[in-house]
Symmetry: C2
Subunit: 391 residues, 2 copies
């Protein structure tokens, strides 16, 4: 039997062979004309994927947390009020980061399996002048999606900067930064962007850059300071050599490769593919009488699905059997209930065949563990739903 196991966690994901090949190119100088072209083009392609011709893109070596840190360190000054809208683990992460820079944070935490209502956000925005709000577009810990569009409208109404943690959404979920009026949209390379981990990606609106320029105090974090990186990003986009810190050459060549693949598919088509695959996958999971963490389809993400273990099934035994069945899925991440659920990533280059493999392994695993199920039912449901979607 093939030893190769399918990596179906919510990042890192399965990457395209061309992207992995790009990782192995003989590294060029960071100021070589070929590389300047690759870096400049990657910045331009980010504008296409983010739908932000007016934004300022940043590509920096680091993790998704660095991207969050950049947003907070550059835009927040001590004493600023910030509203954090959370539907999982990563709202708390943003709160921790913001507080490090002196923000007074109000955390609106959704109940488990739910998202924060628009009304409660508006009610909170009425109570005082906020400098910014943050939202987790898709929370990787819960698989819950939040629609940034109405929240961006509220942000505009109450003159608040809107910051989107798009780590688990960008290039997989619908987003239109300029039209919706989002001020910062950030992500990491290893999720739906489809590049091995190591790059923080961020797009800042003209308003965000203006707020940064008009700071009263210096940015309290040196590495994350846009002042260091802005001239470099501008130079590369103008195809000129520049230096601040050595860019992660191979990762950026891989990034251009993946962004080209994304733009060739077309961002609308790509989002639709994520939506139809996720919908069919949720139907298949439900057909097995398993419970999805997101309590309604309207707030279920299209990039991953979090599912409770059925009663009596032990997580460790489950994961081990899934691996034996050649599929790697992720455990839970929410501290209080992490042993009670698992997560399947379905983003980036994910195909129907990948999800059939997951469902096949899942049926065999559950059956081996004594869970009663109709063999083949989830596969049939998946196929049926997928064909429905495409008709």
């Amino acid at each position: 039997m093939k030893a190769r196991k399918l990596l179906m966690i919510p990042g890192p994901i399965e990457f395209e062979p061309e992207v992995l090949q790009a990782m192995a190119i003989p590294t060029t100088s960071h100021v070589a004309p070929d590389f300047i072209e690759v870096f400049g083009h990657s910045l331009e392609l980010m504008r296409t994927v983010w739908k932000s011709p007016k934004g300022q893109p940043f590509i920096i070596a680091g993790t998704g947390t660095l991207a969050m840190d950049m947003a907070a360190a550059n835009l927040i000054e001590s004493g600023d009020n910030v509203l954090v809208i959370s539907s999982g683990y990563f709202g708390q992460r943003f709160k921790d980061i913001l507080e490090r820079y002196g923000a007074k944070v109000t955390l609106l935490q959704a109940a488990l399996g739910q998202s924060v209502s628009i009304d409660s956000i508006e009610n909170e925005l009425k109570t005082k002048q906020y400098k910014a709000l943050t939202l987790t577009h898709v929370d990787t810990s819960t698989g819950i999606i939040v629609d940034p569009k109405p929240i961006a409208q509220l942000a505009k109404k109450y003159k608040v900067l809107s910051i989107v943690d798009g780590v688990c959404s960008i290039a997989g979920e619908e987003l239109n930064q300029d039209e919706w009026g989002l001020d910062v949209v950030l992500t990491a390379s290893q999720k739906a962007i489809g590049v091995p981990p190591g790059l923080a990606l961020l797009m800042a609106s003209e308003k965000a850059m203006e707020v940064w320029k008009n700071r009263k105090t210096p940015v309290p974090n040196y590495y994350a300071d846009w002042g260091n990186w802005l001239p470099v990003m501008k130079a590369y986009e103008e195809r000129k050599p520049s230096y601040f810190g050595t860019p992660a050459v191979n990762l950026i060549v891989a990034l251009e490769t993946s962004l080209k693949i994304i733009c060739k598919e077309g961002i609308e088509k790509r989002v639709q593919r994520h939506q139809s695959l996720a919908k069919a996958f949720r139907a298949a999971i439900t057909s097995l009488k398993l419970t999805i963490l997101a309590t309604s389809n309207t707030i279920a993400a299209n990039t991953l699905t979090a599912v409770y273990y059925p009663e009596g099934i032990d997580g460790a035994a489950f994961s081990a059997k899934m691996v034996a069945n050649n599929v790697i899925i992720a455990g839970g991440l929410l501290p209080d209930i992490k042993t009670t659920y698992f997560r399947v990533g379905h983003m980036g280059s994910v195909s129907p065949n990948d999800l059939l493999a997951v469902l096949g392994a899942l049926e065999r695993t559950l059956s081996e563990l004594g869970y009663p199920l109709e063999i083949g039912k989830s596969l049939q449901t998946f196929q049926t739903e997928l064909l429905k979607g495409s008709n």
Copy 2:
């Protein structure tokens, strides 16, 4: 003719084929047992290369500047006195970083082509209680090396933390962190460590960790905070799964590959190879009547050499002809004189044949530009010196 050009800049360098292949592995989960072993082993191998069994290693996605930022943000509190010992551009970089965290910095800047004398360092340490001193082991902008050992002794005598920017030295120059008593030794992946850019590497002594633990104020930089990463590094070294930010999986697999190559060669042998190649290269450069930026051999680095253009030779024309001769070298980096010199990196997997290629291209380039020289002289000198060294 072969199109492939030899990359002889002071980082990124020519990487070993096995390291580049490791970059392209299908990415695994960051908590997969195989990857936990790779990460844990890389941390252990760092201890061998740094000669620091007692140190605490950190491997974080970012550039060398992030490693400097980590040292400053974790160890310095507002108002601390810090002495920066500089023999080029990167002392100023450290000053900028340290001041961002409120340090009162005294910069001891060496005259061009020289290093700061031990006496002047001791005189300065007598004037007030410093919290820390920083030194650039090899300054990438000038090719000047500073011996950390006597400075570490002074640091001990005056109860000052010693921080070494080893970005252009670690795994190429002699260093013995524990025996010499250095508190922080940091580097980046793309230099003598031999891994494509994207990883910041840092080793902190027990004393440094103690100083960090006893801070009176929180670390003012979230991403760089050791508090976030320490449990993760400890867990990986104990071969346990852990999570804070997704590690740069492929880069870390490449790092383990390169650290294994380094340890197989043996760190003493590797340093000797750098020393003998650099010595022969400097002799060859001098035989062409070119002037090296470092004013004496005792302060000339073994990882790169900075050389003034001969009078009448234009840097842009020179670089273009070198590229046409299939060798990529770097221009100057010191702002005031950057157009007057070039830099050749010779670190990592560098071989005698690489440096013969550089000298061959250099002779042809200079000859084509009308510089009078005895053709073959530098090659002959290089060979002769190299054989002398090995006898």
